[in-house]
């Protein structure tokens, strides 16, 4: 009888489990909807309010919902969008934008110059507490208004002269100002909507936008749905719908792509070690980014207060290994300004030269690494940072006879440590706010809040000041060349390692997706290929383990 009971219970269990299996046997229950394009954005966007957003995920959603005065063309030069033209007056101290009169918000109203004025003043308003407020500090009274020293909004140098004319007054001639108007935080906003709804205005029922797609749903921590804006002034996008899903775990996201449930993956979704396999798939691409990866030295601490030691460490790194171990199309770099940017110069910087590195180290008093103090190489916890650190640790051991200690810290602890007590050697990256060498090189000036090396060189600072004011491109390049030689060769407070790249895979049935070197995902030209003959991306059983 006991036996019977057991069987009964088992039968129930069996029935239940078979039911579950039956009910869920069809993994493609969502259907293969040709009109929906699906991408993984990795995480929940922290904010869809473009005055408050600070991160790539948010900006990548916003950039498909909105357009601004200008956008970058293929050569990273600002090109007209809402602004049909602009005049640069008073020797660069005044910029007047002339707006198109046929751009509409999703509720039918026209996009006017006042919407820009409101948005920019909102960005600067201390009550908004926007992290990117400083991006407009070149405008007259902007910084003062943000600090609360000027309380009258009217004194800030941005003004709608009429519905289609926006006037901006700058503190000083600023060569990169037009580039700033491509940035999402400068997009127009609707005063009436935001003041009526407060922080809830970004919800799908409320949000008012002007771009190629409309926000149709936002399931938090799960997915965002966009639909094509039929009234978009540059033409309705080809794909009807876009699903942006939030799958944090790369392996999981890749699995979904290979099951045909996603159409596009980027670094958020591709595990490092799967890149070589995917590289053989159609639709695979590396997109170099304007983002540098470097190691810095604490130049005020022994033994890295000695230039020879820093140079030796820089020369003992074979940078060609990075793309081989990271598999992401990284571009090894010995100089700091990344390719694709003005004044990029690959000839600057130390070449891989172990004998010379050993000689320098001997000269500094550490022959073959003998008596070298115990030093720490710190990085923030991350799969790729770890691989880079371990490879470099090994190369220094092999080439210099110095064994550095590795230490990884959780990101925020790490940032705190960099400020208060920088480790001997530390890892950091830098991405461009706007694609100008000024943005990259200023990082290491004496007054820069982000110069954790504590290195100072007045000649370097002076060269950068000259370059910022210089309007002639050739002369500017020469100035940056000299500054880069100080930074990467003569003084070497940092070791540039490589320029990062984004690894992307696009379902070969689609074409037209743009991924910019600033990390923006542009979906408005995505469309199905004419001949839908190419195989689906699933291609199961391609893995070696099968």
């Amino acid at each position: 009888m006991v036996f019977l009971t057991k069987r009964g219970a088992f039968r129930h269990a069996l029935l239940l489990s078979s039911l579950l299996i039956l009910a869920s046997c069809n993994p493609f229950s969502r259907g293969r909807d040709e009109k929906t394009f699906r991408v993984n954005i990795g995480t929940e966007p922290p904010s869809l309010d473009w005055s408050l957003a600070t991160d790539h995920v948010s900006f990548n959603v916003i950039a498909n919902l909105m357009v601004g005065l200008t956008e970058f063309d293929k050569n990273l030069k600002p090109a007209p969008v809402i602004a049909k033209s602009w005049d640069i007056l008073e020797g660069g101290r005044k910029v007047v934008f002339h707006l198109r009169d046929d751009v509409t918000w999703s509720d039918g109203q026209k996009v006017r110059a006042q919407d820009f004025e409101y948005s920019w003043k909102r960005l600067l308003n201390p009550k908004t507490a926007s992290e990117y407020a400083y991006i407009l500090f070149d405008i007259v009274n902007a910084e003062e208004f943000h600090e609360g020293k000027v309380t009258d909004e009217g004194l800030v140098g941005v003004k709608a002269i009429d519905d289609w004319t926006l006037e901006v007054r700058l503190k000083h001639p600023t060569s990169y100002f037009l580039s700033i108007t491509t940035f999402e935080v400068t997009y127009p906003q609707r005063q009436d909507i935001i003041e009526k709804l407060g922080s809830k205005w970004t919800e799908p029922d409320h949000i008012v936008t002007n771009g190629p797609f409309l926000l149709s749903s936002w399931k938090h921590e799960n997915e965002i749905q966009l639909r094509a804006n039929p009234n978009f002034f540059l033409g309705k996008p080809a794909v009807e719908q876009v699903e942006m899903v939030m799958i944090n775990e790369k392996t999981t996201a890749l699995g979904l792509y290979e099951q045909g449930q996603l159409d596009f993956l980027d670094n958020h979704s591709i595990p490092t070690l799967e890149k070589p396999r995917l590289a053989k798939a159609p639709g695979f691409r590396h997109v170099p980014q304007l983002r540098g990866y470097y190691y810095g030295f604490a130049t005020d601490r022994k033994p890295f207060d000695d230039t020879r030691v820093r140079k030796a460490f820089s020369m003992a790194i074979d940078r060609s290994v990075f793309p081989k171990i990271l598999h992401g199309g990284e571009l090894p770099a010995t100089s700091w300004i990344p390719p694709g940017m003005l004044a990029h110069n690959p000839k600057i910087g130390p070449l891989y030269n172990p004998p010379e590195a050993r000689r320098l180290l001997r000269e500094a008093g550490y022959p073959d690494g003998k008596d070298f103090p115990r030093v720490t190489l710190a990085y923030n916890t991350d799969e790729e940072h770890k691989i880079v650190a371990e490879a470099i640790q090994s190369m220094w051991k092999r080439n210099l006879g110095v064994l550095v200690r590795l230490e990884n810290q959780e990101w925020k602890v790490y940032l705190k440590k960099l400020q208060s007590d920088p480790p001997h050697i530390f890892r950091l990256g830098w991405g461009a706010d706007y694609p100008d060498p000024d943005n990259f090189m200023k990082l290491f000036t004496a007054l820069s809040g982000n110069n954790n090396t504590r290195w100072k060189n007045s000649r370097y600072d002076h060269l950068l000041e000259l370059a910022a004011r210089e309007m002639n491109e050739q002369r500017r390049i020469r100035l940056y060349n000299e500054a880069q030689r100080i930074l990467c060769e003569a003084d070497a407070p940092i070791v540039p390692l490589f320029t990062t790249a984004e690894t992307t895979v696009l379902n070969p049935r689609y074409t037209g997706l743009e991924y910019s070197s600033m990390g923006r995902l542009v979906l408005r030209h995505v469309r199905l290929k004419e001949s839908i003959q190419s195989p689906p991306p699933a291609a199961r059983g391609r893995d070696k383990s099968a």
């Binding site: 790369k250 392996t251 890749l254 699995g255 595990p271 490092t272 070690l273 799967e274 070589p276 396999r277 290994v321 081989k324 171990i325 916890t381 991350d382 799969e383 770890k386 691989i387 371990e390 490879a391 640790q393 090994s394 190369m395 051991k397 064994l403 200690r405 590795l406 230490e407 990884n408 810290q409 959780e410 602890v413 893995d543 070696k544 383990s545």
Partner: protein, 282 residues
């Protein structure tokens, strides 16, 4: 004495127990003798041998920097073993003292001390563990303390319960009547009686700590320095492997197996010990 007899009597009838014990010994020896057992260094970088499958040169294959996986697992055992035993012992020390005091004193003090234990139970383990490990730093000592602070309450509760039982027994009263000191009563009369359940709890705490450390490592907050004597923890190895599961299953399979088998062995050992020492509480 009786305990020892019970031990040997039950010992033979339980191959699982013996097997587990042998496995734990092997892992411990492997961890201790790693430099002698393996011709490879736990760190390093060999461009030509990246991600090889298991073979003659590298029994368990190589990882993304061409390092021998078996060697890394052996060194990784050091982290797991030290974390496992270390945590359990620290927690044991704090927990039993705390529990003994609470149970022995009784009354208001007992009440207060147990409320504190309640609070520790009310905290989400993982959160506290992470906050503590951020505070104390990412090293063996930090992880040990953080883990011990989360696990000691278990010992405290068990000890207290046992002490309360033991206290009721007549011989404590007898000892009191003779005029023995409190410390002496606890040490001589109560502790020996509660040794068995504590030993069992200890055995179960080791795998729990190994599990917690490997989970933390899997999340990316573990111990990692391939060249140091500590090596890279198993959880960190498994995390590296998880990301490459589809193409290179060997680099998740072996570390995961090591974690699983070790925890399993300790749990079997715990089961066996419980059967022997405390046959009533199966």
């Amino acid at each position: 004495m009786r305990m020892a007899q019970r031990f040997s009597a039950r010992w033979q009838g339980n191959p699982l127990l013996l097997g587990s014990l042998a496995f734990i010994l092997i892992v411990t020896l492997g961890a201790l003798l790693a430099p002698l057992l393996s011709p490879y260094a736990p760190g390093g970088f060999d461009e030509k041998r990246i991600l090889e499958n298991p073979g003659w040169d590298h029994w368990l294959g190589t990882d993304e920097l061409g390092r021998d996986l078996l060697t890394r697992i052996l060194y990784g055992a050091r982290v797991s073993m030290v974390v496992g035993f270390g945590t359990a012992l620290i927690a044991l020390l704090i927990g039993t003292i705390y529990g003994s005091i609470s149970g022995y004193a009784g009354g208001a003090l007992d009440n207060l001390l147990m409320r504190i234990v309640d609070i520790f139970y009310g905290l989400p383990d993982l959160l506290i563990f992470i906050l503590l490990s951020l505070l104390l730093g990412r090293n063996i000592a930090g992880i040990l303390i953080a883990l011990a602070l989360v696990t000691w309450v278990r010992f405290a509760r068990i000890t207290r319960g046992q002490v309360l039982q033991a206290k009721e027994l007549i011989y404590v009263d007898g000892a009191k009547a003779i005029g023995a000191s409190h410390v002496r009563i606890i040490l001589r009369h109560i502790l020996p009686n509660i040794l068995a359940p504590i030993l069992v709890t200890l055995t179960f705490s080791v795998p729990a700590a190994i599990l917690a450390e490997s989970t933390l490592s899997f999340i990316g907050l573990g111990i990692n320095d391939p060249y140091s004597a500590w090596g890279t923890s198993w959880g960190t190895l498994a995390q590296d492997g998880w990301r490459a599961m589809r193409t290179y299953p060997h680099i998740i399979f072996f570390p995961a197996l090591a974690i699983f088998l070790t925890i399993l062995a300790f749990n079997f050992l715990g089961n066996g010990l419980r059967d022997i020492l405390d046959p009533k509480a199966r």
